[in-house]
């Protein structure tokens, strides 16, 4: 009796499925591909592109401007040790630490103002986090304020773009565990909501699923051992970051999203962000700290990525909030003219560099520094007396 013509093929395919070697070959190829991601990348700066650099000012070897949680204490401690008469804290996003089309001796607004104010006994310190949300600025303020000995003014940059999110990134969540920060946040409904989002901080968020277990220790040791002896293992975070950023770019390409695409307001996070700023001003009031809320410069030579009516509403809301809460207000929207901005890396696959609506050149930093100083001299002259 003969078998059907395709019985042999079916049997062969069936037997192929039952073999280990396709899986072994696949594992080899997969690991080879992963091993190609051998370059370290700063993903928080990936979006800036080649045109823009980050610069964090220092004074006599000590940082006065940082975006890293583990450096904040160094910034605050060094300033306290210098015993300035007055301390000013500046909170914002990457606009404060990025210079578009930078040359070697370009300075940020922080460096410019620090040099100007320090002889007057006033020290400027800056905390700026890429895409800083308002809850993050609130947390940063409360943490720093509990440690600074002569804090007089907090200048808070309110970027409309950053009102589209209201979470606190994992890297900043350790600040919520600080006793003084925790106690201050507990006094407001917004602060209590923030604290709910983080009950326990793990040293390594990669092991969060193993918190308080025996396996946490073994996993940590095995990871360290593998990272030490197998380079491909330690390349995984880079591979992950690259994959996710390429998926982001692919999404933008498919949907035609670029730096100029209109970003609509999201009411939920907008309200949460406004509540966070209210809580910041309230916390500052109890410390006797004056708050300057300002709308940052916006590029106006190109149609900005905001819906005009929503952006108008935002500016009015900030002004109203400042009035109601007893904070100072300034609008620096027109301070930096179009030619002093720059370009940003393409947000889609194969695209050209696009208009940068967040980061300007050195001259823009100088103009921002002047605008900030003028606002303080008019609204709070005792800052410099």
């Amino acid at each position: 009796m003969t078998e059907p013509a395709d019985a042999g093929s079916a049997r062969t395919a069936q037997s192929a499925e039952n073999r280990v070697w396709p899986t072994v070959i696949a594992a080899f190829v997969a690991l080879l591909l992963v091993s190609l991601f051998d370059e370290e990348e700063r993903f928080d700066e990936l979006a800036l592109g080649a045109h823009t650099i980050s610069r964090f000012a220092t004074y006599e070897g000590s940082p006065i401007h940082t975006h890293q949680v583990d450096e904040i204490d160094a910034v605050l401690k060094a300033s306290n040790e210098r015993s300035p008469t007055k301390q000013v804290l500046w909170l914002g996003n990457s606009m404060l630490h990025s210079i578009n089309r930078a040359s070697d001796d370009d300075e940020t607004a922080t460096a410019i103002l620090f040099a100007r104010w320090q002889p007057l006994g006033t020290e400027l310190l800056t905390l700026s986090f890429p895409n800083a949300t308002m809850p993050e600025l609130l947390t940063g303020y409360v943490y720093a304020a509990s440690r600074l000995e002569n804090l007089q003014v907090a200048m808070v940059q309110l970027t409309f773009d950053d009102f589209r999110a209201a979470d606190i990134r994992a890297g900043l969540q350790p600040l919520l565990q600080d006793g003084a920060t925790h106690d201050t946040l507990e006094t407001s409904p917004t602060g209590r909501e923030l604290l709910k989002t983080q009950t326990t901080v793990v040293e390594d968020t990669e092991l969060a699923g193993l918190r308080d277990t025996v396996q946490e220790r073994s996993e940590k040791q095995l990871n360290e051992w593998l990272g030490q002896y197998w380079p491909t293992w330690s390349q995984r975070p880079t591979a992950r970051g690259r994959l996710l950023s390429e998926l982001f770019r692919l999404r933008n390409t498919v949907f035609g999203i670029n730096a100029r695409s209109k970003r609509p307001l999201r009411e939920a996070t907008y309200q949460q962000s406004m509540a966070a700023i209210r809580a910041l001003v309230a916390a500052a009031k109890t410390n006797g700290t004056t708050v300057l809320l300002y709308v940052p410069p916006l590029r106006t030579d190109v149609d900005p990525p905001y819906i005009a009516a929503e952006y108008d509403r935002f500016q009015q809301d900030v002004r109203r909030l400042a009035t109601e809460e007893g904070a100072l207000f300034a609008n620096f929207g027109d301070v930096v003219p179009g030619p002093l901005w720059g370009m940003i890396a393409a947000a889609n696959v194969g695209g050209e560099p696009d208009y940068d609506f967040m980061h300007f050149q050195q001259a823009g930093h100088a103009l921002l520094a002047d605008a900030v100083e003028n606002a303080l001299r008019v609204q709070r002259p005792e800052t410099f007396e």
Partner: protein, 488 residues
């Protein structure tokens, strides 16, 4: 020990090597100690709880089998139930009970807050207590003889692939395979390895990356959400919990298969179900069959037919039951208990009753459905069943009943269908997941059988698929989240 970790992979390699090289008795003791070690890597101090439950049922079952006196057998069974359900009540439901008693006391004017008992829920307690209860009940029903060899029994109860989150196994399903190690075949090993890798992919690449979106959505102020947001959250959590739980099952079945041991399937494309009954024949099959055999059938007064039970899934009838009102009462009570089994919160009870209503309506409309053509029953049924089943995940994930009802209320607000309240990416990902599920179902049922006719093409596609699966699982392998069903 968590599956998605380097520690577990190292553990598995060592266990497999010893499993295939040791003689029988040493192999069984190795498996038993390895399983205890697996559990102890979570918290070793809870090992006595698990061993206490296991030893109780071991001894009770031997005593039951040793006597024909019905009253004595029943008393012994009661001991087992009291110990196991007592443990479950203490660790899982005591705080819940206290909180609810305090609600009553508050109504009587008591102002002090309820005591916080600070009881940690032992990992897997809901699973291993059910497994040992089923063993004792089967001995009581004379469906099986008790195991006299303690180490073999210990392996059955604590077998690490299924210890923490199932599948809930019957004695006859696994013990003969533990007792006599099957012959090593490349078929089984290769198949098991592929399942483990696929499970890791579903967990660390898919489920863990869906989680932040789902968490953010459910934490968002309900007032800012619309109807489309609620539908999106329901589907997203449905995708997350399926990928998470089926991942666990894949890894569990895969590990067992690498030892030559076949577990019953726990999932069978549940989101392709054409009715609520069909859904429960495809989702967490081992649990729904356990509930049928040990809860629903006894409650409905049905005669227990040995030949028609086992882990085939669903609340199917083993025999013709008695009156329909008895069946209905049994249906609702069973589902309420099944809901409560998942968690000590009224949301889970609501979830259970929701499914009971679905099954009840399905039964009640049988007359109308039989008049429909098979295609309409299949695809029309799917189009109705899928959204209903997805919506059932809202109470499963919501904080409390108030949150649940607030979310459900959004579905009836027409204005909520014209605005979006969450980050744009979540809608995109939900749409992509829906397409991916459809594509996977189509590929599994239509494409793969055809591919098998061409070995060269099959090799190529198989290898290419595994490159993606292994590469991504390798990149994303981190124990950042426990499995969702660990909390049960």
């Amino acid at each position: 020990m968590i599956f998605n970790s380097v520690t577990f992979l190292a553990f598995l390699c060592v266990v497999l090597l010893l499993y295939w090289t040791l003689p029988r008795r040493a192999r069984l003791w190795m498996l038993f100690i390895a399983s205890l070690t697996f559990y102890g890597f979570w918290r070793w101090e809870y090992l006595p709880v698990m061993l206490g439950s296991a030893v109780t049922d071991y001894l009770v079952s031997l005593r039951i089998a040793a006597t024909e006196n019905r009253k004595r057998r029943r008393r012994l069974l009661l001991i087992s139930l009291v110990v196991n359900l007592g443990l479950l009540f203490y660790f899982k439901y005591l705080q819940f009970t206290v909180d609810n008693v305090w609600v009553g006391l508050r109504a009587l004017g008591v102002v002090t807050p309820p005591p916080i008992l600070d009881i940690i829920l032992p990992l897997g307690i809901s699973f291993y207590t059910f497994q040992t209860i089923s063993y004792t009940v089967d001995v009581y029903r004379k469906q099986t003889e008790p195991l006299r060899e303690f180490v073999l029994y210990g392996c059955f109860v604590t077998f690490f692939p299924q210890l923490v989150a199932g599948p809930v196994l019957r004695l006859a399903e696994v013990t003969p395979q533990l007792d006599r190690r099957p012959k090593f075949t490349q078929t089984a090993f290769a198949g098991g390895l592929r399942r483990v890798l696929m499970g890791l992919f579903l967990k660390v690449v898919v489920a863990d990356n869906l989680s932040p979106f789902v968490d953010a959505g459910f934490e968002q102020d309900v007032a800012t959400l619309g109807a489309i947001d609620v539908w999106t959250l329901a589907f997203m959590f449905g995708f997350q919990i399926y990928c998470d739980f089926s991942a666990y099952s894949h890894i569990a079945l895969g590990c067992a298969k690498m030892m030559g041991i076949e577990f019953p399937e726990n999932f069978n494309f549940p989101y392709a179900a054409s009715s609520p009954k069909d859904f429960w024949g495809r989702w967490h099959i081992s649990l729904s069959s356990w509930i049928r055999d040990y809860l629903y059938l006894p409650l409905s007064g049905a005669r227990f037919n040995v030949g028609k039970t086992g882990s085939t899934g669903g609340l199917q009838d083993a025999v013709t039951e008695k009156r329909s009102d008895t069946r209905t009462r049994a249906l609702f009570l069973t589902w309420a208990i099944m809901g409560l089994w998942h968690g000590a919160n009224w949301t889970f009870v609501f979830w259970g009753v929701y499914h009971a209503v679905c099954v009840f309506v399905f039964r009640a409309t049988k007359g109308a459905r039989v008049r429909l053509g098979p295609r309409l029953r299949r695809w029309g049924g799917w189009a109705i069943t899928l959204p209903i089943m997805m919506l059932s995940w809202i109470p499963f994930r919501a904080r409390d009943l108030g949150h649940t009802f607030a979310l459900y209320a959004k579905l009836f607000q027409p204005g909520g269908y014209v605005r979006l309240g969450m980050r744009e990416n979540i809608y995109l990902i939900a749409a992509l997941m829906m397409m991916a599920f459809g594509a996977t179902y189509f590929a599994s049922t239509q494409v793969v059988p055809r591919l098998r006719r061409s070995p060269a093409l099959f090799y190529t596609v198989e290898t290419a698929t595994m490159v993606i699966v292994i590469g991504l699982a390798f990149i994303f392998l981190r124990p950042i989240q426990q499995f969702i069903y660990f909390q049960f």
